[in-house]
Every structure is written in structure tokens, then in C-alpha cells.
């Protein structure tokens, strides 16, 4: 592919929709919504001046916020970032673009297991560096004579040089399932699937029960067991509310296909960094996209197909 932009034929930053919730659910403007607004309004009025945390405590679910309310929420997140890291950040909430459904392809025959994607992802997405160390991408080293067999997979391989003889590498991250078991199991609707296929989490709504982590067959969800350790000088200031904004302790996080990048027409960080071009990304609805070419010319397979999660993440062997 000559262009490094995922929407074929488009250049520049693309034309994302203005900040605002992805789906404004008209139905929610009913009694529940009114009661909540009334309660929140009364509480905020009574306790005004007590800071952003109270306003966050009494706000409604992200998907039910008006564009103005979203703007206020984003301002609060930026203020919190400033307090916590002493840095200016830009927090957006770009919605899904119409006519876009993201697809990801991973070429098993090319991956060499260098884990550059793992660390590019950590950097881009502001993951906790240590205690706990959080990696959204997990590269498994597998044995060639066993094939894709988790009983013979090593996540913690240490090698002087990769690829090692007799081994191949199988990176796993959120598969952005069309039938996501994590979304089904979440008791508070704090996680949902967006129209472009990205499964997102509202870190301010998650209660930290970890049902989704039990339900995910891909180990793609990670918990902030402590306040994430994130050095201010390494903070990525370019943030999305549903993606890489810094997380509090006690909530779950996961790969979002770099929502802060891809919704603005860029590639995910892991795709960009891959030194062997094993990672492909694009719009499944665009017949000219790279991912569609992969699906038409290669034989793709999905991971754990027996669970009928129907991922938007495909593996293939190009050679």
C-alpha cells in the first residue's frame, strides 16, 4: 500500500465528526433521564464548589450526555490530567464515522515476535508501566510442531534474538468481537460496542467488578490493580475519552484499535511500528481497503472460532 492512511484515497486528518457522544439515545430522554438530571442537578447545586469529582459522581452515563455535557466532561478530564501530570492535554470524543467498520489483519507468517508493537502500544495508550505492568498486546511464542496450541504457548519468553528456531509468534489483543461476551456480562453498561466496531469502556462508569475479564476468551481486558504508574514526561497528550486518557485505579481497560488515531484517519500505533509489515488495518466496508485485499487474496482465520464471538480481528498466513 502506498498510502499509510487507512481510508484509501483520503488524505490529511480526515473529517471526524465534532466531539459528541456516538449514539445519542433519544429514548433515554424519558423519565429515568429526567430523574437522574434532577437528582444530579440538585446535588451539584447543593455541593457546588466541592470540585470535579462530585460532578463526575452525579453525572449520567456517557452515551446519554448531550454534546454540551460531553464538552464539559472532556474539560474536566483535561483539568484532571493537568492536576495529575502537570501537562496540557487534548481530550476528544470523536464519534464513529458513518460507513466505517474497522477490520484488523495479522500475518502469522511474518510476525517475528519482537514485541515492538507491545511497547509502541504502551507508549501511545498511556498504560501503567509497572506495578502493575499493563500490556494490551500479548505476544505468545508457540511451537511450530504444535501449531496454535495454548497449552504450548509462552507469553513470557526471553530471547536474545527472535525469531527463535522452531518457534512462531502469535500476538493477541482485543478482537473487537461482533458478539462480545464482555459487553453482555457488564452489569452497568460501562462497556459497549461502537458502530465502527470498537468495543470501548467508560472508565468513569466502570465499577471494577471484573465480570468482563472473566468473560473475555482472549485475555484482552486488564485491570488497574493500583493507580497506574505513568511518568509525566511519557504521557501522550493526544487523547480520546473512550481510549487512551489516563485511567484511575480500579477500572478495566483494553485495546481500542487506537481510537484516538483511527477515528482521525490514522493507523493504530502497532500497525505503524511493525518492522515486518505483519499488521494490516482498514475499513471492512471499503472494497479498496488493505484489509479487504487481505481477506480476498489470503485465507484468514479467527481465534477461538468455536466460541462464536465473531471477531473483527483476523489472522492469516501470507506465505
Amino acid at each position: 500500500m502506498s498510502s499509510r492512511r487507512w481510508p484509501a484515497g483520503e488524505d490529511g486528518e480526515g473529517t471526524p465528526r465534532p466531539a459528541g457522544p456516538v449514539q445519542v439515545e433519544e429514548l433515554a430522554a424519558g423519565r429515568r433521564s429526567f430523574l437522574r438530571t434532577a437528582a444530579a442537578g440538585a446535588a451539584v447545586a447543593a455541593l457546588s464548589g466541592c470540585g470535579d469529582s462530585l460532578e463526575d459522581f452525579f453525572r449520567r452515563r456517557f452515551k446519554e450526555l448531550s454534546p454540551e455535557e460531553v464538552a464539559r466532561v472532556l474539560e474536566r478530564v483535561e483539568r484532571r490530567n493537568k492536576e495529575r501530570f502537570g501537562k496540557d492535554t487534548t481530550v476528544r470524543a470523536d464519534g464513529a464515522r458513518p460507513g466505517v467498520e474497522f477490520g484488523y489483519g495479522l500475518d502469522i507468517s511474518r510476525c517475528v515476535g519482537c514485541r515492538r508493537c507491545v511497547y509502541a502500544c504502551v507508549k501511545e495508550n498511556n498504560q501503567s508501566r509497572e506495578h502493575p505492568q499493563i500490556h494490551w498486546i500479548q505476544v505468545l511464542e508457540m511451537e511450530k510442531d504444535h501449531g496454535v496450541d495454548l497449552a504450548h504457548a509462552d507469553l513470557y519468553y526471553e530471547a536474545d534474538a527472535v525469531p527463535r528456531p522452531g518457534k512462531f509468534y502469535f500476538p493477541v489483543q482485543c478482537q473487537q468481537c461482533r458478539n462480545p461476551p464482555c459487553v453482555k456480562t457488564c452489569p452497568t453498561q460501562a462497556t459497549w460496542k461502537e458502530p465502527d466496531g470498537i468495543v470501548v469502556i467508560d472508565y468513569d462508569w466502570c465499577i471494577g467488578c471484573r465480570c468482563c475479564m472473566s468473560a473475555c476468551p482472549y485475555g484482552a481486558r486488564h485491570f488497574n490493580w493500583a493507580v497506574p504508574t505513568l511518568p509525566p514526561e511519557e504521557l501522550n497528550p493526544d487523547q480520546h475519552y473512550l481510549g487512551n486518557r489516563p485511567r484511575p485505579k480500579g477500572v478495566v481497560e483494553k485495546c481500542t484499535f487506537c481510537i484516538q488515531r483511527t477515528r482521525r484517519g490514522r493507523y493504530p500505533a502497532c500497525v505503524e511500528i511493525c518492522p515486518v509489515g505483519a499488521r494490516k488495518f482498514g475499513n471492512l466496508l471499503d472494497p479498496e481497503s488493505e484489509i479487504r485485499k487481505v481477506m480476498e487474496t489470503k485465507r484468514v482465520f479467527i481465534f477461538k472460532e468455536d466460541l462464536a464471538t465473531h471477531p473483527q480481528f483476523y489472522y492469516f498466513y501470507a506465505t
Binding site: 452489569p187 465499577i207 467488578c209 488497574n224
Partner: protein
């Protein structure tokens, strides 16, 4: 309602009077609560990193204790069925004590869930109207619903019964019996829904077996009544509280059948896993044999099985069932066996190996033990206080001024015991 303040004052008096043994027990429980408070403070400060749970084993000791206690809560009330069928004389007492045990066990369940949450202060997000419960799709919303419904039902029943008795008024069978009958399916549903919480996860083959809910019920029928048997003996000794030996022996006999069923279902599960020996065998293997050098759970697996089998034999043989030393030993063994099986033995192998085939050897930290000790302290304290108020009412020594103390009074209407 008139006399409520009188009742409350009387209750405080009942709770604050006791012999040296009682105060030692209460002091012991308060110490446990303090240990729990200190441990939880540390966890709240550091986050759940103070536990040994990690991404690969993301539920562990707390959720194991929760699961076990749901069983205790469910089974305590299920004793109503044999009490009714076999026409035990003190049916009301059995119902009340079972319900008090259920209330205490549910208190512990909710505390364990709260301790396990990353953001317990956001619990309103699961509540209708102010929150956004993912009902009916999420099993946890169902679990919250049935557990709280069961808690409220038990509280209403027991308060109604005790307050009527306290005022020397007969209770209405038309109110009482339907509520008791309703509490039975609710008890079953609490434990079934809790089983479904794990059972519904296709990502965890160790739990994703239809046998899970029946096994939950069978093992609950063992652990819940074990507490009741010990309790009945204690109350018989300290109060003028009549419960026949035959009733206790009958409970023990029913427990033997329940344990047989539990062991049979376990055998069915083990046969299926080991004979077909597919890739899902690994989880069962991790529990019973260990994988490679990872054998942390193996001693507990066999200890649990030994306890359960021994208790089964003790309860099956009429002579050991009818001798109180061996009967109580059996209760202890059953409690231990089911505690391991429905706690760590259920949760940890579900996560080991992880969904990506990795093994994280989990053992609880001191903080986790501390919090658990605290929760059990609260639970037993709640139970002690409730029993201390309820039993004097039931035996007729704690009555409203002017009410006639008649001891075991009878319900109104025909057909009463």
C-alpha cells in the same frame, strides 16, 4: 407501631446481658472486625494490588468466599422443607433460625462483593433509575436482584414473626406460610443464579458445564444445615429451647443424601474430563494433580475430598449419625470440605491456565485473609446479635409488657401444630 422503642430498648438489654462466655465470643468477633477494618483500609489505600489477584486470576479468595456463603444462605432456609414435611414440633423456630442465618450469610456475601470491587462507591450504577443496570443480559444484575430480594424477604418474615410473638399476638398463617413458601424458590434461585454467573462464560471451560448449578445446590444442602445442627445443640444447652434429637438426626440423614449427590456429580464431572481428555482437561488437572511444578491447589483438592467422603460415611451410618461427637465432627468436616470445594476449588481452576494458556500461581495475601476474617467477624456478630434477641422471644422470656408469656405459642387458625 406502638411499642417499637420499647422493643428496641429490650433488644439492647438482651444483647448487652450475657455470661462470660458470651462476652468472650463477642470480644473475639469484634477483634476480627478490627483486623478486617485495618486490612481493608490498606487495600483501599493501595488498590486491589494489595491482594494477589492479577489479570490472569482476576477473581479469587473474596469471590470464593462469596460463593460458599450464598450456599449457606440458600440452604439455611431450605431446612424449612423437611421441617414442614416431617412435622417437626418447633417448625417456627427452625424457620426463624434458618432465616437469621440466611440474613447473616447474605450480609457477608454483599461485603465480600464490595471488598472485591474496584469502585464500590459506584454501586448505584447497577441500581435501576439512578444507574444503568444491564438487565436482563448481565448475570450479575440478576444476582444482585435475587440476593437483595432474598435478604429483604427474610428480614420481613423474621421481623413479622418475632414482633408478633414479642407482643404476645399469634401470627397469621395466611401471611406467614405463603411468605415461607416464597422464600424456598427464592433460596434456590439465589444459588442457581450465582452458579449461572460462572456457568454462562464460554471463555472458562471449567465453569461452562451444565452440572455446575446442580452441584451448587447439592453442596449447599450440606454446608448450610451443618451450621444449623451445631446451633441447635448450642441453643438447647443455653436456653429452654426444645428441639428433638430425631429432628437433628433427620437433618444429618438428609445431609448424607445431599453429600452423596454432590460426590456423584463430582464423579460424573471427573469421568467426563479424564475419559474424553480434551484440551479442557487442563483445568481439572490443575486442581487435582497440578500442571508441571504448579501444585498449589492439589493438597486442598484431596483434603476437601477426604473431608467430604468421611463426613458422608459418618452421616450415613446410623450409629455415628446419632452420636453427637461424631455428628459434630461430620459437620466440621462437611463445612471444611465444601468451603474448599465451592471457594478456592471452584474459582482458581476456572482461571488456571488463563485464556491464553498461562499459569499464575495464586495464594491469598495477608490483606485478603484479614479482610475475610473481618467479613466473617461481621457476619457472625450479626448472627449472634440476632439470635440473642430472637431466641428469648421464641422461648417466651422476652415479651412486651403486658403480653402473656406462653413459651411456644401457637399460630391461630385450624391445622396449626
Amino acid at each position: 407501631m406502638s411499642g417499637v422503642s420499647e422493643f428496641l430498648r429490650g433488644s439492647v438489654r438482651e444483647v448487652t446481658t450475657g455470661k462470660r462466655g458470651y462476652w468472650l465470643w463477642v470480644g473475639f468477633l469484634l477483634a476480627a472486625v478490627v483486623v478486617g477494618g485495618v486490612s481493608y483500609a490498606q487495600q483501599a489505600r493501595q488498590g486491589l494490588i494489595a491482594t494477589n489477584m492479577r489479570d490472569d486470576v482476576s477473581w479469587a479468595f473474596y469471590i470464593g468466599n462469596f460463593t460458599f456463603l450464598v450456599g449457606v444462605a440458600a440452604a439455611a432456609v431450605l431446612l424449612v422443607v423437611p421441617a414442614y414435611v416431617y412435622q417437626w414440633k418447633p417448625i417456627k423456630e427452625v424457620v426463624v433460625l434458618g432465616e437469621l442465618l440466611a440474613v447473616s450469610a447474605l450480609t457477608m456475601c454483599l461485603l465480600f462483593i464490595a471488598a472485591d470491587m474496584g469502585h464500590p462507591e459506584r454501586f448505584l450504577h447497577i441500581v435501576p433509575i439512578v444507574g444503568s443496570p444491564n438487565w436482563p443480559r448481565s448475570m450479575l444484575t440478576w444476582d444482585a436482584l435475587v440476593l437483595n430480594a432474598y435478604l429483604v424477604l427474610n428480614l420481613v418474615l423474621v421481623l413479622y414473626l418475632l414482633f408478633r410473638t414479642y407482643r404476645g399476638q399469634p401470627y397469621h398463617r395466611k401471611v406467614f406460610l405463603p411468605l415461607v413458601m416464597l422464600s424456598i424458590p427464592t433460596a434456590i434461585s439465589t444459588h442457581t443464579v450465582t452458579a449461572f454467573l460462572y456457568n454462562g462464560m464460554a471463555s472458562r471451560p471449567y465453569w461452562n458445564a451444565s452440572i455446575l448449578a446442580p452441584r451448587f445446590i447439592a453442596s449447599a444442602f450440606c454446608s448450610g444445615p451443618a451450621v444449623m445442627i451445631v446451633l441447635f445443640q448450642l441453643l438447647r444447652r443455653t436456653f429452654r429451647f426444645e428441639i428433638k434429637d430425631e429432628a437433628i438426626w433427620k437433618i444429618a440423614e438428609l445431609m448424607a443424601y445431599a453429600m452423596f449427590l454432590n460426590l456423584f456429580l463430582l464423579g460424573a464431572e471427573l469421568f467426563k474430563e479424564y475419559y474424553s481428555a480434551g484440551e479442557h482437561l487442563l483445568y481439572t488437572q490443575y486442581y487435582w494433580q497440578g500442571i508441571g511444578g504448579h501444585r498449589a491447589l492439589v493438597p486442598y483438592a484431596w483434603l476437601s475430598l477426604s473431608c467430604s467422603v468421611l463426613a458422608f460415611v459418618l452421616f450415613l451410618v446410623p450409629r455415628t449419625r446419632r452420636s453427637f461427637p461424631t455428628l459434630n465432627l461430620g459437620c466440621l468436616l462437611i463445612w471444611a470440605g465444601v468451603y474448599i470445594e465451592k471457594g478456592m476449588g471452584l474459582i482458581i481452576p476456572g482461571f488456571t491456565p488463563s485464556t491464553l494458556g498461562q499459569i499464575y500461581p495464586y495464594t491469598p495475601t495477608a490483606v485478603e485473609w484479614g479482610v475475610a476474617i473481618g467479613v466473617f467477624g461481621v457476619g457472625f456478630l450479626v448472627f449472634t446479635v440476632l439470635v440473642k434477641i430472637a431466641v428469648p422471644i421464641l422461648v417466651g422470656t422476652f415479651r412486651a409488657p403486658g403480653a402473656i408469656a406462653t413459651g411456644h405459642d401457637t399460630p391461630e387458625g385450624p391445622g396449626a401444630h
